[in-house]
């Protein structure tokens, strides 16, 4: 087999050196009752060519050649060629977590740059080396707030991604962390500050909002921060559309930012792998879950990087760790790092303005449901979203996400997204059907 680098004679020589006549004797110490005495019921191995063909056949069963207006936490952005060029390098692709600093400076340096750029983007002081994704970064942020404040309750806006909220509920259920949701203003689509004020109390550890929120609307970070802080709670700001940070004021009033970087050259890939991020104010560093890279020097006095503050982590602190996370999303974070490098200071802004412009062009042709300021997604009123989507599919267009599934009161609406990859012709064609 092509992945097994031994000839039969080498294998025989090694078995002999082990004092074993045949391979099965290597397992002689296993109790007979545990042994599988039949071959696995899986097809025999196939060639590279057949594997390619198998996945091409599967791909052919998916959407091919469709325009798409789906966003809702996963965005279609152009992936610069350099991204795959860099991550295809075996030195990045096939290395382990950089515990051995002397031979891992490539990964460590890139993560240090990643942490720096995430701080610059979010306005926070410290960013970690990545979390699994945005959805799991949310409960990690909430648990951090609980540890930092010594309080137990969490308030989360209904305008946070519905699946992120579901993940928070799963994590919170068994930790004595009651989670309460608060609403949004029906006209604006922004958080309902009065509802938040009513539900906020002195036992609240964190208030969680998203901006741009699930409806694409830039939300009231400053007002939420003032309210949260007035009751001694922390403000956690979630983002799913990282490109927005190119133009939208960063959530500097937050204590914790929990985000998803999929927009930064990470292909949609049917939901993962993506890269989550946690970024915090300085005072929360030691409550932070996940890996952190720090700067130091080597014995020659040269700048060098290493994983640091490991006493927060499970391999040292075990059941007292800040989280159970071990493996993170390093290679995906590297994709995001290359993306941020390619676009840079001017490019990210220009990219964000293109997204903003496309979405506003689209909005001009539809009936926006909310009056709040939006970035590249908007909620449009459509009498029967499912029927409209069906009609769109006939024109090879995947329409918006019908919102009734997550918000019964919005069953006459769909969430649509336009990015730099959405063409004017596609938007015109969509509008023709929805109008």
């Amino acid at each position: 087999m092509r992945y097994l680098p031994k000839s039969d004679s080498e294998r025989r020589a090694m078995l002999e050196a082990c004092g074993v006549a045949e391979a099965d004797e290597l397992f002689a110490h296993l109790p007979e009752a545990v042994r599988l005495r039949r071959p696995l019921a899986l097809d025999p191995g196939i060639s590279e060519y057949e594997i390619v063909q198998y996945f091409r056949d599967r791909a052919a069963e998916n959407a091919n050649g469709y325009a798409s207006f789906l966003g809702a936490g996963v965005y279609r952005h152009y992936r610069p060629v350099l991204v795959d060029t860099v991550v295809a390098r075996g030195e990045f692709l096939t290395s382990y977590t950089p515990y051995q600093a002397e031979i891992s400076q490539g990964t460590l340096t890139a993560i240090f740059e990643f942490q720096t750029m995430l701080c610059q983007l979010t306005g926070m002081d410290v960013a970690n080396a990545s979390m699994y994704d945005g959805s799991t970064a949310v409960p990690e942020a909430a648990m951090m707030a609980v540890r930092a404040t010594g309080k137990g309750r969490v308030l989360i806006a209904r305008s946070v991604h519905p699946e992120y909220r579901e993940v928070l509920h799963t994590y919170a259920r068994h930790q004595g962390m009651p989670v309460t949701e608060f609403g949004f203003v029906p006209e604006a689509g922004t958080i309902d500050l009065e509802d938040l004020d009513r539900k906020l109390d002195g036992l609240t550890a964190a208030v969680i909002i998203q901006s741009p929120n699930f409806f694409g609307i830039v939300d009231q970070v400053k007002a939420a921060a003032e309210l949260a802080h007035s009751k001694g709670a922390l403000l956690i700001v979630v983002f799913t559309e990282a490109v927005s940070l190119g133009i939208v004021e960063p959530p500097v009033d937050a204590d914790i930012v929990a985000g998803e970087l999929q927009s930064f050259a990470i292909s949609p890939s049917y939901g993962g792998p993506y890269a989550g991020i946690l970024a915090v104010k300085e005072k929360l560093i030691r409550q932070m879950p996940g890996r952190l890279v720090g700067q130091s020097t080597d014995t020659h006095g040269n700048r060098a990087f290493c994983l640091t503050l490991a006493t927060r982590e499970q391999h040292i602190r075990r059941e007292k760790a800040t989280s159970n996370i071990c493996t993170n999303q390093a290679l995906i974070a590297l994709m995001a790092t290359v993306f941020m490098t390619v676009y840079g200071k001017e490019g990210l802004r220009e990219l964000a303005v293109q997204n903003l412009s496309k979405a506003h062009y689209l909005a001009g042709k539809l009936a926006p449901r909310f009056c709040g300021k939006f970035f590249n997604e908007l909620v449009a009123r459509v009498d029967d979203p499912d029927a409209a989507n069906k009609a769109l599919l006939k024109k090879k267009i995947i329409g918006g996400l019908p919102l009734g599934r997550f918000y019964p009161e919005l069953s006459d609406s769909m969430l649509l997204c336009a990015t730099e990859m959405t063409t004017r012709a596609e938007m015109d064609a969509l509008a023709e059907v929805l109008a």
Binding site: M14, V86, F92
Partner: protein, 492 residues
């Protein structure tokens, strides 16, 4: 003595921010074909940010050189053996990378209509079935993003089942040889952790287990083979003890590379387990992730699996969201799909018999290393090992050389270190896992290096204590890094 490597030049490279110069670009966007919107007007002036201070500005050439130079500072499997115990650093087949980038898979949106995502769903269904067959379990969820995430999912499943039976119970038992993620997971799932001391032979102490298992115990989390690389020979008995008291057996599948095709956890009493696709199933570690941590369960736990579940409806796959007993979601969408594609490609390449052959070679490599190094290094637990072997630094420590030093010296010989100081039950542990994808020549070079280092410990301990010598970066001051954390670049 050192025949695997010799010195070569590597390029210096500043940080991106130090390379940056205003106005440099590595991008060009297409001309905007709709009217440009004024951000202040569209968003409100107060919502528009000033420029991103300090963000890099470099050209495309500088960008590619930057990351290429950085990459040359890493060691990687593509360079050679990476014998990290517990990590299963095997070859990452490149075909997996290619197929994961198949356009209509890589660009599939998780909310595209089911009728237009049948290919993705079929891939997941086929992988679920393969993993169920490999583990001998009844059902598999692919949602968890990594091993520790799978552990959490598994323990929440146990909690849900016990809750339904009337009492979620209070404690999880964990052997002292376990990975740190196990106790950390139990704590997050709301359980108290009780450690079980391993027996003198380094396996689960069944007599102690019998004493500890009460109606208060929800589960035992066990790694099998354990972190010494030793198969838990009493696993069936342990399962019986647990089940008799209504408790469950959770298996950490980190070491599944020792068992595929040889023994199935479902056949030896395991109720729930996770797999690390980035270990056993060859998906790349990528410098620390991404992974995937599918969880396999017995039928009794199936109703509690995270929603949605794949369901066959006539000729099509569909998602079943209406699962009233489900623990809920552990992650948005369906899992790390791109990683799942790679793992399936690996399974397809090997096929059933091939997967078993891989296990045999993995164990053969570890047993061979043990035989060859036993004369030179202390072997604290002499039980037969499987896919990894754990020595201690006892003999070398007499010369003042500890496992961490030996590991650093290994770098000079052209190898990545083994896992240092783990498992905790071995003082000064050297944990070596070669995997099946090392050939005899590479393994023999590794053995020669280890023997040579053992000699050096006696004749020239200083060279070991100050290693590595051949790397562009020498030992890094980790204490200083933690004392005054510098976690981001700032302009001078």
């Amino acid at each position: 003595m050192i025949d695997k490597v010799r010195e070569h030049l590597s390029q210096n490279e500043p940080l991106l921010f130090e390379r940056s110069s205003p106005g440099k670009r590595a991008y060009q966007l297409p001309a905007l074909e709709v009217p440009a919107v004024d951000p202040a007007e569209a968003l409100g002036a107060e919502n528009v940010r000033p420029e991103i201070e300090g963000f890099p500005e470099v050209s495309e050439v500088e960008a590619i050189r930057h990351f290429t130079r950085l990459s040359t500072w890493n060691y990687a499997i593509d360079h050679g053996m990476y014998p990290l115990g517990s990590c299963t650093m095997k070859y990452n087949p490149r075909i997996n990378e290619l197929v994961a980038r198949t356009e209509a898979l890589a660009w599939a949106h998780p909310y595209q209509p089911e009728a237009l995502a049948q290919g993705c769903m079929e891939v997941m269904a086929r992988l679920e079935a393969a993993l169920a067959e490999i583990t001998g379990m009844d059902a598999v969820t692919l949602q968890p993003a990594a091993g520790a995430h799978g552990e959490l999912t598994g323990i929440l499943l146990i909690r849900a089942l016990l809750q339904q039976r009337g009492n979620p119970r209070r404690k999880i038992l964990i052997p002292d040889s376990a990975h740190g993620t196990n106790p950390a997971t139990a704590a997050i799932a709301g359980y108290a952790v009780e450690n079980i001391k391993s027996s003198e032979s380094g396996v689960l102490d069944v007599a102690a287990l019998e004493q500890l298992v009460t109606e208060d115990v929800a589960a035992l989390m066990v790694t099998n083979p354990n972190t010494l690389g030793v198969f838990e020979e009493n696993i069936i008995h342990a399962a019986e003890i647990l089940h008799a008291k209504g408790a469950m057996l959770y298996m950490d599948g980190a070491n599944m590379n020792a068992l595929v095709g040889i023994a199935r956890p479902g056949d030896f009493g395991v109720d729930v387990m996770h797999l690390n696709l980035h270990k056993t199933f060859s998906t790349p570690h990528g410098g620390g992730g991404p992974g995937a941590g599918p969880v396999a369960v017995k039928a009794a736990l199936e109703p509690f699996l995270p929603a949605p579940r794949l369901k066959r409806s006539g000729k099509r796959w569909t998602y079943d969201y209406k699962r009233k007993h489900s623990i809920g979601r552990v992650k948005a969408f369906y899992g790390n799909f791109g990683v799942l594609v790679r793992a399936l490609a690996y399974i397809l390449a090997h096929g059933g018999p091939g997967l078993r052959n891989a296990t045999v070679d993995a164990v053969l490599n570890a047993v061979y290393i043990r035989k060859k190094l036993e004369p030179y290094y202390d072997l604290p637990y002499p039980a037969p090992n499987m896919h990894e072997v754990v020595f201690s630094d006892e003999r070398q420590a007499r010369h003042g050389v500890r496992t961490g030093d030996l590991a650093k010296r290994l770098i000079d010989y052209g190898f990545h270190p083994y896992t240092v100081s783990f498992p905790l039950i071995v003082h000064g542990a050297l944990m070596i896992e070669p995997t099946e994808t090392e050939g005899k020549m590479e393994i023999d070079q590794f053995i020669d290096a280890m023997i040579s280092i053992a000699h050096e410990a006696e004749t020239d301990p200083h060279i070991i204590k100050t290693a590595p010598h051949g790397t562009r970066t020498s030992r890094v001051d980790e204490v200083a890094a933690a004392r005054r954390p510098v976690l981001r670049w700032k302009p001078a």
